[in-house]
Amino acid sequence: MEYFAQQVLNGVTLGAIYALIALGYTMVYGIIGMINFAHGDIFMVGGFTALIVFLILVSLFYSVPAAVALLVMTIVAMLLTALWSWLIERVAYRPLRGSFRLAPLITAIGISIVLSNLVQVLQGPRNKPIPPMISQTYEFGGVVLTLKQVVILAVTSALLALFWFLVNKTTLGRAQRACEQDPKMAAMLGIDVDRTISLTFIMGAALAAVAGTMFIMYYGVISFSSGFIPGVKAFTAAVLGGIGSIQGAVLGGLLIGLIEALWSAYFSVDYKDVAAFSILIVVLIFLPSGLLGRADVEKV
């Protein structure tokens, strides 16, 4: 029983990181019907920014309380990564908006390569480690909960709540939903569609940057290629949950994390990815638009 609880906890923590990244995929898809393949690398850029901020903090002040360091890392990473994402959208996606559907997809793959190679050139191809920041652990009847896991779960829940509020209760959220349903009509009604799309990219990137910061805090290393696998997993999570659906992305992220953890826990670690993707295939056979996806959404 403790073993099960422990593995569920491990799976949920992993799933929380996937969910944060998956939101970026699903939001962008929801609003412009495009899969932003560069999103995994945006996540990696966020993690790298957090790492650099941490190193600057340590070299300036020698010893920084972990909470302060994490807060500064998260905020700076969110801002800079959002800026990157805005720039990418402006340069690589907006000019192609009227073009055929595959064009932005190709540029997204191009941007993905540009970002990972840029980081490789600037930061070198090796893994960049940071020293362990927080190492407290708590034990509840045989289940070990680390403070890192608490931070990840708390930050993710808080962000998801904030995010839910933004999308459902604010003017910005209403504009977003309007653009999602019918961009032409939204524009006619006085909504600045380009600006709303930019904001969507910014929000997705900020969430990915938080995931990147959590990643570097939890695992302690990052390299230029760190964005690829989490990016693919998060994309899978978004598809599993129903791409375009915000609740779906969160559910999908948690599910992928749990499937990986429980499969490795009771079967073999070798085949955890096989298990996750097999379940994805089975779900898509029976529910082609994912668990919470809306089948009736029609994109032009």
């Binding site: 593995q7 491990n10 480690p129 362990p132 680390t146 290393v221 760190s226 696998i229 953890a261």
Partner: protein, 372 residues
């Protein structure tokens, strides 16, 4: 290919004939004399040269003097092949080389077809001697021989512990892990867990919880330093106090920055420094007197020439095929690396790996040292 080889062989036969007339035995040294691995090439050349000088000073082999011919492979397989063809044309019968496994492997095929014996002081890839060629030998260890050493160490120190064997599913990592497992099982020790991870994975929390559940206290990992460092770090995070052991793929100072304090006590297998061996004393002094520090592969190269010379003497022949047979069945050779013998494949049967352990030094920094 065949067509081109015929004239090459004709030339080789002619050259061999003339070389015989000169009463010199030419030993070809094929190594990266220039290029990124030039430092190792210099060691190999220097080692072979010194061995030849010493053997000649002691009267040569079967009444004939040894002579060196140098071929620069620049660590490039294509260059290696042209070096081999040049050696063959020059009447070389024995080659000491090459440095890179990637060069040694293709070159050995050309040499085998032309009746030349090759002994590599540095190529550790198992494939080099695994293709059933008659002419391939190596002085250094094999990647998979580490498993034997690691298995023996674990059996000796953790006979009753619960051991987990983990690998990264690559030919290298899984190869080393499987060999260790084999050695453990052979000694009657059975692992409680055998798992493969993906290279590039970062989350090992599930694996570690699994180990915890199985009561694992010793982890053997076959793979490279990044994942090893992460596993160490997460073992500490999860509060699992286990001893971890790994292979020479983890030898990098980067692992200590990934693992942090968790590196303390991490053990791994790696070749020992041959300069510290008793048998190498005289040779090391000679090198130092000449102003050359016999690092890394120098002594391996020296020993390669010794093995050829000793086998030729014992077989009373300078025919490469006869010498090759002799090396395989000769038993112990007294070399600067200590006592060495060879098996049917041409590998040295004295696994050349020892155990090192990471420990905090007095300056507060972590470093690794060979265990006594």
């Amino acid at each position: 290919m065949r067509k081109r080889l015929v004239p090459a062989m004709a030339v080789a036969a002619l050259a061999a004939f003339t070389a015989g007339a000169h009463a010199d035995v030419i030993i070809g040294v094929g190594a990266p004399i220039t290029g990124p691995n030039a430092a190792f090439g210099a060691q190999i050349l220097r080692g072979a040269q010194q061995a030849v000088d010493d053997i000649n000073a002691a009267g040569g082999v079967n009444g004939e003097k040894l002579k060196i011919a140098v071929g620069d492979d620049v660590s490039d397989p294509k260059q290696g092949i042209s070096v081999a063809n040049k050696f063959i044309a020059d009447g070389v019968k024995f080659v000491v080389g090459h440095y890179n496994s990637g060069v040694s492997i293709p070159v050995s095929e050309v040499l085998a077809e032309n009746g030349v014996l090759e002994i590599s002081p540095a190529s550790t890839n198992p494939r080099y001697t695994e293709r059933g060629l008659w002419n391939t030998f190596r002085m250094c260890g094999r990647d998979d021989q580490q498993g034997i050493v690691a298995g023996a160490y674990l059996t000796e120190h953790f006979k009753d512990a619960k051991i987990a064997v983990v690998h990264d599913k690559t030919p290298y990592g899984q190869g080393v892990a499987d060999e260790t497992k084999k050695a453990l099982n052979g000694a009657g020790v059975h692992e409680v867990m055998y798992e493969g991870i993906n290279p590039g994975d970062v989350d090992f929390s599930v694996l570690i919880a699994k180990m915890k559940d199985a009561g694992v206290t010793v982890v053997y990992y076959g793979g490279l330093h990044t994942e090893a460092g992460l596993i160490l770090r997460q073992l500490a995070d999860q509060g699992l106090k286990a001893t971890m052991m790994s292979d020479d793929g983890t030898v990098s100072t980067e692992i200590s920055s990934i693992a942090g304090d968790a590196i303390d006590g991490f053990t791994f297998t790696f070749p020992p420094d041959p300069r510290n061996r008793e048998a190498a004393k005289g040779a090391v002094e000679t090198f130092r007197k000449a102003g050359f520090e016999p690092e890394a592969y120098t002594l391996y190269s020296y020993a390669s020439v010794q093995v050829i010379a000793e086998a030729a003497k014992a077989a009373n022949s300078l025919d490469p095929a006869t010498v090759a047979e002799e090396i395989k069945k000769h038993g112990i050779f007294k070399t600067v690396l200590g006592d060495r013998s060879f098996n049917e494949k041409g590998d040295t049967t004295n696994p050349d790996y020892v155990v090192y352990r990471w420990k905090k030094g007095e300056d507060g920094k972590y470093n690794y040292n060979q265990l006594p």
